[in-house]
Amino acid sequence: MTPVEMTPAELAEYRRRQKSRALVMALALGALAILFFAISLAKIM
């Protein structure tokens, strides 16, 4: 089912899931960036 064929309720749920997944992915990538920086420092020291 594509977003065009969804009812308004399904579309709202679709958007909510997209948004929450994007937020989790952004947080995970941010955390990894910090981790890689910390690993680099640990390896240098």
Binding site: E13, R17, R21, V24, L35, A38, I39, A42, K43, M45
Partner: protein
């Protein structure tokens, strides 16, 4: 409809991850060499991600089985909340990432053992053995035994006698742990066609096997003390808790109960077996820290 992010977390079997992370951490802390905290954290993260990837690939392959069992039918795939393709991509991606990060940030030995553990769980246990032999859980137990070895290898860059004994302990602990569970959820496994020992060989054989595996497990649990690899703290705790484990295993072995709802010794052994592993690994770290 895209799967919710919580379903991806559920795909990683978070409850199993707690034990994996704990044994990996204890293996690392029990090592005689201190690892940089950031690298130690990274190694534990990699162990968790690798185990999560193995869990995801296990659920990807076993979606049909999970749909047949009461215990597993609400997982993301059988419940229809996620496509099999998403689970496969997520599992493979996470597995590759965890191994690469372990290899680049920690060391190659730890990355190699992590790779072997993921492949062992997914290919040897899930794909090859689980549906073919009632000894599936014995071989599969090796997959769960790897984290302590990986934790030690991450810290030291090598494998010694103590982590091998810890590997043996978890490996030999798995059959009594899972068979105690499978005795009172036998109908679930039978309905799914999984050849678990109680389904194939009956209750009496399974009860005997629980006791038989407890004997070498007890040896592996206590051995580090007389071998001089640990101190008295671990030795005393391991002796007491192993004696209780053995007592519960004897009660399971002599029980003739056939009604699953009334199988109290089996439930007690299963619950205690989880506590047992946490306590022994905790004692190992306490022994190392306080010695």
């Amino acid at each position: 409809m895209p799967a919710d992010w919580r379903d991806f977390v559920a795909l990683c079997k978070p409850r199993v991850l707690t034990l994996v992370v704990f044994t990996g951490l204890c293996g690392m802390l029990a090592a005689p060499v201190a690892i940089h905290p950031v690298l130690g954290f990274t190694a534990i993260l990699c162990i968790a991600l690798g185990a999560g990837a193995a869990g995801a690939l296990n659920q990807w392959y076993e979606a049909d089985l999970d749909a047949l069992m009461k215990r597993t039918r609400n997982r993301p795939l059988p419940a229809g909340r996620m496509t099999r393709g998403s689970a496969l991509h997520f599992g493979v991606g996470l597995a590759c990432f965890s191994v690469l990060l372990m290899g680049l940030a920690v060391n190659l030995l730890a990355a190699t053992i992590l790779t072997v553990s993921i492949l062992f769980y997914v290919v040897i246990y899930t794909v090859w053995l689980k549906r073919r032999t009632p000894q599936n859980i014995v071989i599969g137990g090796a997959a769960g035994a790897f984290p302590a070895l990986i934790g030690w290898a991450a810290a030291t860059g090598q494998v010694d006698v103590l982590p091998v004994l810890l590997f043996a302990l978890v490996f030999l602990w798995t059959p009594p742990h899972f068979w105690a569970l499978s005795l009172y959820v036998k109908t679930d496994y039978a309905a799914a066609g999984v050849p678990m020992l109680p389904v194939v060989s009956g209750l009496t054989v399974t009860r005997t096997q629980v006791l038989l595996y407890t004997v070498p497990m007890a040896v592996a649990a206590v051995a580090p003390w007389p071998m001089g690899l640990t101190g008295a703290i671990y030795g005393i705790v391991a002796s007491i808790f192993t004696a209780i484990f053995a007592l519960l295993a004897v009660r399971v072995a002599v029980s003739r109960e056939t009604v699953q709802a009334a199988m109290k010794p089996e439930r007690q052994l299963f619950a205690f077996s989880i506590l047992y592993l946490f306590v022994l690994f905790g004692a190992l770290v306490a022994d190392r820290v306080l010695a």
